[in-house]
């Protein structure tokens, strides 16, 4: 196993430095902003494993965020499970669902797979909306007493923040390790030419399913933290296709298949979105403007911001991955 190089260390350091500022200053507004950036980075980097490394466009990837969120929420609400355990359970359930689902839908290639994943998201959403046991379409609210175990709501919010920080670093490290492993080489071979990969000896079906499960594991945990912090979960928020599209957007914007791509894509997207939402003129148009931005990136920088930088500035290439 290779040791993490400078190409991933700078990302981790940056996340740590920015992540620690809200904790030092106690600035709650800043904490919320950084929480959202971390959530975006973690979601986009997870998606990158199946989208960027393996070449399968999981359009409805948000379904795993929702599944993880619901799993954790029900555990916390009904059994008083600790958030850390509930988070891990959310991740594991999401990964298992993805692995099983992958057996069926990862046979599909190209647009067919993408459409199938949207179908899965919508189907799960409809299912949850009709399951009265877990709140149906109105969802569930956490009893405020749940937070007492963590020293009150305010402490629970900080705990969620630190968990998200840890999780984001874990996702970046995982993303780097996958890319620099034999497993990752197999995934990239599948992305480039699945027929060549299988004839070269790559167990394509298992590899694809494992990649799908891994890329669902983290969103499952992220969903658990988000909804624990939120105090409320409902199908519209848990299985929100817009967030799914935003995830793809961030990966493409930053550069798919690169470790640093989703990181930069998520940060840029969050900032652009923030500025647009604040502005009187553009606040209702932020998705439209983001769409135009993505169009421009795909037309002029098909490998994303980081891919473009890596191609143009050769000396920096060694530090980007």
């Amino acid at each position: 196993m290779r040791k993490p190089g400078i190409s991933v260390i700078w990302i981790i350091l940056l996340i740590l430095v920015v992540g620690i500022i809200p904790a030092l200053t106690g600035n709650i507004i800043l904490r919320e902003t950084v929480f959202l950036i971390l959530l975006y980075i973690a979601l986009a980097s997870s998606l990158n494993i199946i989208l960027g490394y393996t070449g399968y466009v999981s359009f409805g990837h948000i379904v795993f965020y929702g599944i993880g969120g619901y799993t954790a929420f029900v555990l916390i609400d009904s059994f008083g499970t600790n958030i850390i355990l509930a988070m891990i359970a959310g991740g594991v359930v999401a990964a298992l669902v993805a692995y099983a689902l992958g057996q069926a839908i990862l046979k599909l290639r190209g647009a067919y797979f993408a459409i199938a994943t949207i179908g899965v998201n919508e189907a799960v959403k409809a299912l949850v909306e009709n399951l009265e046991q877990i709140g149906g379409s109105e969802g569930i609210f956490l009893n405020v007493n749940v937070y007492k175990a963590y020293g009150g709501a305010e402490n629970a919010l900080w705990l969620s923040y630190y968990l998200m920080l840890l999780l984001t670093i874990a996702v970046i490290l995982t993303s780097w390790y996958v890319k620099n492993s034999k497993f990752g080489l197999g995934l990239m071979a599948i992305r480039e030419d699945e027929d060549a990969a299988i004839v070269a000896g790559v167990n394509t079906k298992t590899y694809k399913c494992l990649a799908y499960a891994l890329s669902a594991f983290f969103p499952g945990m992220i969903g658990a933290i988000f909804f624990f912090k939120n105090g409320n979960i409902e199908p519209v928020n848990a299985f929100n296709l817009t967030l799914s599209i935003e995830m793809i957007f961030m990966v493409m914007l930053g550069g798919f298949g690169m470790v640093s791509g989703p990181f930069i894509g998520a940060v840029v997207y969050e900032r652009v979105r923030g500025i647009l939402l604040m502005s009187e003129m553009f606040k209702d148009l932020h998705m439209a403007i983001s769409g135009v931005l993505l169009l421009l990136v795909i037309l002029f920088m098909p490998r994303g911001i980081m891919g473009y930088v890596k191609d143009k500035v050769t000396w920096i290439g060694r530090y980007l991955e």
Binding site: K182, L185, G186, M188, D193, A196, I198, V199, A200, G201
Partner: protein
């Protein structure tokens, strides 16, 4: 001693019989050539051996073990590597990574470090070592052909299936490639190759089998096959080629 035994293999696509009761044996360390007009079933035969299509009837025995119906990645891991007629470079990966894929997932099942070492050696062997860090998509056609060969070789196969590795090469590149193929054979690898370039396959093969409409119509030493009336008949659409075949000169079938 046989490395590969193909026994009464039949492969149908709907009403089309692509391979009809084909049987032959590949002996250890020989180069067996497969020729035949377009649509004769040569590539289908490779696809059946490498596990891409299971045959409807018949058996394939590799190294004393039946491999009929095994998925392609298992066949590869047992020690059969192949190249594709239309090259399949992993374009966005470097040349070195392309070859590492073969080493990592083929018969030897290596870790990344050993695979990298083997990749360097193999690239030297096919004279691509100076382009190891280039993206595979940026290579020209002859280089892509050599890369395809290197990826197959890096898995240290016992049997190598070459599907028209000479097609599209100029005469100099052809003789370079033939030299590489001879060296591969000397290193102890058995080779089964499909080729349209007659003079090349006649020179390099120990034996040749001829397919026509999915049926094996001849088998033997190159000169025997070239003079076989059935083979001449199969190629008769092109009388010039028949003459050339008889004289053992260059020529390609249509």
């Amino acid at each position: 001693m046989s490395v590969l035994k193909v026994e009464n293999v039949t492969k149908r696509f709907g009403g089309l019989i692509a391979l009809n009761n084909v049987s032959f044996v590949v002996n250890k360390n020989e180069i067996l050539g497969i020729i035949g007009p377009n649509g004769a079933g040569k590539t289908t035969l490779f696809n059946v051996i490498s596990g891409i299509y299971p045959p409807e009837e018949g058996k394939i025995i590799f190294d004393g073990k039946e491999i009929t119906g095994l998925p392609p990645f298992k066949v590869a891991r047992l020690g059969i590597a192949r190249t594709f007629q239309v090259v399949k470079p992993l374009s966005e990966l470097t040349v070195r990574e392309n070859v590492m894929v073969g080493a990592c997932f083929g018969k030897e099942n290596m870790d990344l470090e050993s695979a990298e070492r083997i990749a360097e050696e193999t690239l030297k062997f096919v004279k691509l070592d100076h382009k190891a860090d280039m993206l595979a998509g940026k290579l020209n056609v002859p280089e892509k052909k050599r890369l395809e060969l290197a990826r197959a070789l890096a898995s240290k196969p016992k049997l190598l299936l070459l599907d028209e590795v000479l097609a599209g090469l100029n005469p100099v590149e052809v003789s370079e490639m033939l030299e590489i193929i001879e060296r591969i054979r000397k290193s102890g690898v058995t080779i089964l190759m499909i080729e349209h370039l007659m003079h090349a396959i006649m020179n390099v093969s120990d034996r040749i089998i001829v397919l026509d409409y999915g049926v094996k119509i001849a088998e033997g030493k190159p000169e025997e096959v070239a003079n076989d009336p059935k083979v001449i008949e199969a190629y008769l659409g092109d009388p010039n080629l028949v003459l050339k075949l008889g004289r053992g000169e260059s020529g390609a079938s249509g």
